[in-house]
Every structure is written in C-alpha cells, then in structure tokens.
Subunit: 148 residues, 4 copies
C-alpha cells in the first residue's frame, strides 16, 4: 500500500467540513467512516427511496458514494485553499447492489499536482458475507482557490 | 442517425412502467420526456437536496440520469420478458452541472443480443444557452426473464 | 458540429511534424488523412503483423489509431510550445475490426486550458459497407513546454 | 487475493497456443512470463519502432499488452471451445512509459458466465525502481465456439 504525506494537518476536519456541504449526500444518508492520507470510506445504510426497478440500490447510488469516497481520498492530500472536482469516472458493476449497507472505499493510486487518479470499490454485506459490488477508476482535478 | 426496430409494440409503456418502479428516480424527481426506438430523454428540475459542495448538481445526479436514459434507450429495443442491467459506465464531466433543469439523452450506438452499447449526454440551460455538462458510454446487458 | 479557433496558423504542419516523430505509428503504417481545427483522421491499411488470434486487427491497433487521432485533434488547438499527452482512454469495441483499411476519426468535444476531452471512432469497410468498429472517449493533457 | 478454479487442465498450454496466433504481439515482441488461474503477465522489452513523439513507449503499446494480459487472465478460466473477446477497456496512464522493459499484469476481478471483469496494470523499471505506468479495467466476453 502506498504511503502519502498530507499538506494540511487538519485534513480530516477539511474532509468532514466539505462533506457536510453536500446536500445530495445527506439526501442519500451517506456518512464518512474512515479518513487517512489518500483514503476515505463512505458508508450508506439501506432506506426507502434509493432503489432501482428490481429493488437493489440504484447504480447511481453506488456510483455517487464511490465518486465521493474517491474525491475525498484525493482531497485529503490537497493543500489549503484547494478544492476537488471529478473530471471523469469509470465504474464496472460486478454484483447486484444489496445488503443492509454499502461500504465505498476510495484510495489514491497516483497523486499529482494537477490530476490525482483514484480507485473506488463498493462492498455490500449479504448473509454475513462480503460482496464486491463495484470497482472503478476516477480522475480528480485539484482546483486552486475553489476550497470546499 | 441509426434506425432501430422494436420487438414490442408497446415499448413506450414498458419503459414508463419500469421507470415508475425506480424509487431513486422519484427521489431525484426525474421524468421521462422522450421515448423513441433506441432513444430516451430524462429531465430533472433543480430542487433542494441534489447539490455537491459548490452548489452545482452532484456528479452522482448527473450520472444517474445519464445511466437511466441510456438503460431505457437499450430497453426500448428489448423483447417481452427482458430486463436491463448496467454492466459498466464511463462519464466525462465537461462543465459544472447547473441550470434550472438537466436534460439527459440516452441513445443506442450498437444493439446486440447480449450487450447493447449506448451513449449518454447531459445538457443544462444557463442564461438561455445550452451547456454540454457530461458525455458518457454505457454497456447494457439484456437480462432474459428479468422483466422490468 | 462545434467550431474551434486555432492558436497557431501552421497547425496542420505541427500535427504532421509530431506525427512523423512517432516510430510506433510508422510500424503500424498509419497515415494522417484529414486535419481541421479540432479534427484529425488517421487511416491504416491492412498488412501482415497487425492481427489478433482470429485474424482481425488487434484491439491494440484499433485503440492506437483512435488515441492518436484524438490526441492530434486536441493538439491542433494548442499553442506554440505545447505538447499533448493522453491522460486516460475508454474504448468500446462494437464489431470485429476488419476491412482493407481502418479509418479513425478524432474530434474535440470540449477544449480546455488544461484538459481537452475528445471522442474517437473507428470505421472499417467490408463489402462496400461501412462498419462502426469502435467508439471511445479520451482525456488529453496540454503539456506546456513539451512541444511535439 | 481471489482464488479461481480452471475448467481445462491444460489452461497454460491453451493460453500460449492462442497467444502464438496473434501476429501483432509478435510485431511488438511481447512474451507471456506468468500464467496462473485468472492471472497472466506479459513482458515487453524496449526496441525500435514502439515509441511515441517523446521517445517513450506509445500508449498504444502499453494498452495492447494490458489488454492481452487481461484477456488471457480471463481466458485461463474458460472452458474448452471458448474464445475471448474484449468488449471494452479503460486505461489511466499514470507515468511516462519508459524502462528497459514493461511488465503488464492481468488479473480477473470477477469471473462470469458471459462477462469477466479484469484489472490490468503496467510497470516499468527505471534506475532499479519500479514505476507504475498504467492501470485499467477490462470487460472480457466469453465467446462460445470461438476457440483461440
């Protein structure tokens, strides 16, 4: 596993403060459950209003929490005054998205001055067994002066 | 523009019936505004609870309506008893997602017995000018016996 | 179709000069057959040594000429002293890559100061009929001071 | 690391036999250097004719060996009479592709009856240090009756 250095001591507070400003993540009920340099996990518990037509979590829900986990993984390494924007994302859906909750893990693969490449994975727990629901790659842009 | 033949005369009703079963699309307030063979448009009006940290529509919202428009574009060509599943998606975010509403256009590029490849695009209207917000490619799976 | 302004009058000469420096494109026998602002086409004639195991053009060949067409489409809009690098690419293979020649079309979708997003498509001609072999999306980076 | 069961005892011989039929991989000088269930590595030594305009390995070379490693990783799990086709690929280029040789690792993430999802990574060795050159995701199709 790669080791990354942070530029801002209070990087965890910065992630949580930015996360709290995203009304869509509140709509979903997503929560940050792990922050480390270049690593963010997001957990989402099942509730009404998040399903697709077969009763599973909608792919848009899965993608949203992966994208957010990956974005904040990148953001955890940025400097004061920097914001994060997703440039592009690619998601492969591996198994139906079910379980009492989903866990999205965002990890920085390659930090950069301009672009930071991240991996995202989503897991669900069904009958006490972990299911790998989705994997993806994300390109994040460091946006100077666009803090939060 | 490609021309596609449908397998089910009531393909529009099938799309609308399946769409109505997706609770997440109701949560977002998304609506189907165009259906033709291999083509579906989805419109989403701005409302509270869909924003990211800078006040734009969250990339997850943009991706969700693209994915749904693309999926139903594929589904419009499927036979009775067939369902649709997204296998993978790739989205490039081109401009901040803003405007009074978003319009997602899903179009079939290549239909297939097993896999149908679709393009998705999202537009917003800002100051009376169309903005190209996102473009993407989607692989949809025809799931026999998984109707709706 | 979008209209783009070039920054360098001799943009065609710049594309051809850079193209000529790529030994791998010579190995393939690829040729530039169209240049306009934000548009480059590359043509490749069938020859021995480019096949995969079923006798079609290898997906790597298809991807290479799409990537090069997309990259030079972006490069055609860049300023003096700028170079182009591919940051990421996504390709959907739609039909077996066959025909006497392949035609790759690269088109800028969204130019940017830092990132330029392009679409790429590859066509083949079989029995006098155009076949759409592949479509893709590409993120190109403008690299200051890395001319050619 | 996932453990996978093979369907054909002579899966290594099948991979090598199919690989030998790809004239494009001979053109590049690529060689299979590791085969295990769901895992294939391909090594490529630097030689003339594989460069892009800055003298690095062309992105098309990098993508080709990743795609082949991923495809044969999937193929190693297929049954007798099955062939493999790439449906789509996504590659993020992380660092300039240089070194005396490139090593591409293809690994199955999720096997399936119809679709097998794989990860690919390419590494180079520069001054005795491993460089992560590219990472990608690949969707492979099991093509019944299209052996080799």
């Amino acid at each position: 596993m790669a080791h990354f250095d942070v530029r801002v001591e209070a990087y965890k507070e910065r992630v949580l403060a930015s996360f709290a400003k995203q009304s869509f993540l509140r709509t979903l009920g997503a929560q940050v459950t792990h922050i480390a340099p270049g690593e963010v996990d997001i957990t989402l518990h099942a509730k009404e209003g998040l399903e697709q037509q077969h009763g599973f979590f909608h792919a848009g829900v899965t993608t949203t929490i992966m994208d957010s986990a990956a974005g904040y993984a990148a953001f955890s390494l940025f400097g004061a005054g920097d914001g994060v924007l997703t440039s592009e994302l690619k998601v492969n859906l591996l198994n139906p998205a079910r379980g009492a909750f989903l866990l999205a893990k965002g990890r920085v693969i390659k930090p950069g001055r301009m672009l930071t490449i991240c991996q995202g994975d989503v897991y669900g727990a069904v009958d006490g067994k972990d299911i790998h629901i989705a994997t993806g790659l994300f390109t994040m842009v460091r946006a100077e002066g666009l803090e939060l």
